[in-house]
Symmetry: C2
Subunit: 466 residues, 2 copies
């Protein structure tokens, strides 16, 4: 006897939920392939020391041990991957000689994190990642392309009933250039603190910037003003530069560090603002209304060096980001060669769990069968099988009734599964007939030629109607 | 710096290998859906005590521990699933009220076993399972249907270059009925011993039957004669009955147990032989030459109660079974209700690793892009992007050149990736042109109407030609 208990943080879907998840994944894959991303899968495990390279995530790693294993020394230990970036970086190094660069790949797999489960936060969940990685260098235009690929993917998901998204972008060069220009040196603490804006609000962030970031009240105010900047065009750059000039103008000249003279903007800031403006221009043209600069997007301690992205589902902002990423100058390095990359990762489980919980998307049916072939009596099962074989040969999924119950019961069997048609095989005197059990219409039909409407052939994910 | 070492037993494929694996999986999924199997996925973990219910597999389980976890008491411990049957049984019990029975599902996921890696034996590998499970009862005809679904799936795989298969079937009722008829009581030891025939040969099996199974030399000989029976029709049943009669006739009547009187065949044996014959009759009609009775198929200690199946790739018999399964009278039970099932499981990684290692199947290309849109200079990148957008809108996957290098270099870029076409955008005076880089043919082309041949649109897995 099996004791059954659902495990918190390890979501599973019923068949109709899986139809919706598959429709989401199929749509993503189609978009990624249209853009020339190769698919790869990596093993679920990585050496523990590789997983722990980023100190912050150590608490989330699941470590593996064979039940009979004696020596569980840490240097051979394996852990489950907590994202698809670490394994991809390793895959690139391991196969560098056999890949062509820039290498564009997509990867849709489960990842595991031992976090406390919450709404939209799971211990096992699927991610869908796209990344492009160069050998030695990677042109900036990929930082524009990749979020636009995601914008296209989300646009395709609208047909299923997925709400629209807003892709929020910022740029680490802008942040670093700005903080340098106003004399802040501890960028890391500032990034980590600003990252908490949505959680703890501006007043507490201001306090923390001063108490932990070591900023002056004026610097903290400038950071908050910077973090509040949003926009779709060049005005973003203008406002950042105005903020710098205003801050610098307010400071007594004796207090100014060399890097913070009025009218002197660090090269990094200029470069970052040019990149951000180029991105917004392209986005306005190619995906109007989807992308927006939002300078509070910081992505915490991740090693981003250029553009950073977060994505909210419009109307579901509190769910958190469902698609994030950015540019790394060093996605991977083997000491000799460096591989810069840019990528984004969709939280597929987080998205799908919301689609299911709020009934935003529905499946036309859970069962792949479009037709149930009835069985008049067990001796005639072979005839029913033969009809099913003919339909399947023409790509029409079907099932054969499990028993030769009364036809009413067989129709009920189809109805419970959402199978729209029931097929009754004929006799010498009478042709086969097929019944649409939704309308009750029953017509003569030949298994060699009959076709259901295209929309009935496979289960589909469609917008749920109110 | 990342230290890179491939992990033995954790296979990964290059993009071209993944194209082949995906083609295999897509073919399986299409067949399973045509037969009305719902797709589900289950979480990767199960409570350790559930995984250990079958004692024999305990050594193979990977146990999970959160790195920061203090209390790793065994009763809350989680392990990675080592097959898809245990999680499916649990899923059925957990969701019994929300599923419809008989419930047919397919499931294609990774599983993990801490075994010593060998050729075709991995620590992480993908399985593709189909099962049908009834509530309380499950008609025998499913034991005929399910291997025929697999036969159809393997038949569809032939188009990719996968070698033909032989599905070997036996029946636990036949084995149990036979051993009972010849006076053997310790069926378990006999099953386990006969299972070793291919590994250690008949002489050693005979010795073990006598020394460990407690059989007489005559019983051991009868077992070996039984295990050597193969066939496609009723002759299998005839030979089993002859063997029983011959054995019983040879025994002095005083030594015979009650169950072993000449001409007295246990009901179980008759039932099993009738099932086996029915299966062979259906198989001969519906998948000629694919299925064969092979009475040495025992499937070790698994809890099968009726038909059992193994599948060999013709010409690769030493790889072992690539698709196995059988009938369980108790796939799952919650104490109140019992769920009998029948299912088969394909070792996808085992199959694909052989296809790749022996170059039986090849990918027409690794890159999904059919077209590389060239970039004449970076200022014109937007024009190239616009052409790519038009092609993608019509379902033609394409990539845009990473840099505005010389055209020769851009053609080389496409060539290295197997991208068959390079697109050169036009000017006011000159139309766009597309070059088939395999033939060198270059023609005028309109991105709104041009189509590549259907075979060039997506990468395909095809038989490797010698």
């Amino acid at each position: 006897m099996v004791k059954i208990a659902a495990l918190s943080g390890f979501p599973e879907w019923l068949p109709q939920g899986r139809v919706i998840e598959r429709a989401v994944i199929d749509t993503l894959e189609r978009t990624f392939a249209l853009h020339g991303f190769c698919e790869i899968e990596t093993r679920a495990v990585e050496p523990l020391d590789q997983l722990l390279r980023k100190g912050e995530t150590s608490k989330e790693v699941y470590v593996l041990r064979r039940l009979q294993e004696q020596d569980s020394s840490r240097d051979k230990a394996l852990g489950l991957h907590f994202d698809l970036t670490v394994p991809f970086a390793r895959y690139v190094l391991e196969n560098a000689g056999r890949l062509t660069f820039p290498f564009k790949r997509y990867q849709i797999q489960k990842v595991w994190r031992g976090e406390r489960p919450q709404d939209g936060r799971f211990r096992e969940f699927a991610q869908a990642d796209i990344d492009v990685v160069g050998a030695g260098s990677l042109p900036f235009h990929y930082e524009v392309e990749l979020p636009l690929v995601m914008a296209e993917a989300f646009s395709a998901l609208r047909a299923l009933g997925v709400p629209p998204v807003k892709i929020l972008v910022s740029n680490r060069k802008v942040m670093e250039g700005f903080t340098t220009a106003i004399g802040i040196t501890d960028l890391e603490t500032v990034l980590r603190t600003v990252d908490k804006l949505d959680k703890i609000g501006p007043d507490k962030v201001r306090d923390l910037l001063i108490s932990e970031g070591g900023t002056t009240p004026e610097q903290a105010d400038a950071c908050l003003a910077f973090a509040s900047i949003r926009g779709h065009d060049d005005s973003v750059a203008t406002r950042v530069l105005e903020l710098v000039d205003q801050y610098q103008g307010d400071q007594p000249s004796t207090d100014r560090p060399d890097t913070a003279q009025p009218g002197v903007h660090p090269d990094l800031l200029a470069e970052g603002l040019a990149e951000l403006s180029a991105m917004l221009t392209a986005a306005t043209e190619r995906a109007p209304g989807v992308m927006e600069a939002d300078l509070k997007i910081a992505r915490g301690l991740d090693y981003y060096t250029g553009s950073v992205y977060e994505t909210v589902l419009v109307g579901h902002e509190r769910l958190g980001s469902i698609c994030s990423g950015g540019r790394y100058d060093t996605l991977a390095s083997d000491g000799k060669n460096t591989y810069p990359g840019v990528g984004l990762s969709i939280g597929v489980s987080r998205l799908v769990s919301r689609l299911l919980a709020d009934s935003l998307v529905t499946a036309t049916r859970a069962n792949p069968a479009a037709v149930l072939v009835a069985v008049s009596n067990e001796e005639n099962r072979a005839e029913s099988n033969s009809i099913a074989t003919q339909l399947r040969a023409r790509g029409i999924p079907c099932d054969v009734a499990p028993t030769a119950a009364k036809f009413g019961k067989q129709i009920q069997f189809a109805d419970r599964r959402g199978i729209p048609y029931v097929w009754f095989h004929g006799t010498q005197d009478q042709p086969s007939q097929v019944k649409d059990i939704r309308t009750g219409d029953q017509v003569d039909a030949d298994p060699a030629t009959w076709n259901p409407p295209a929309d009935d052939i496979h289960p589909r994910a469609v917008p749920a109607t109110a």
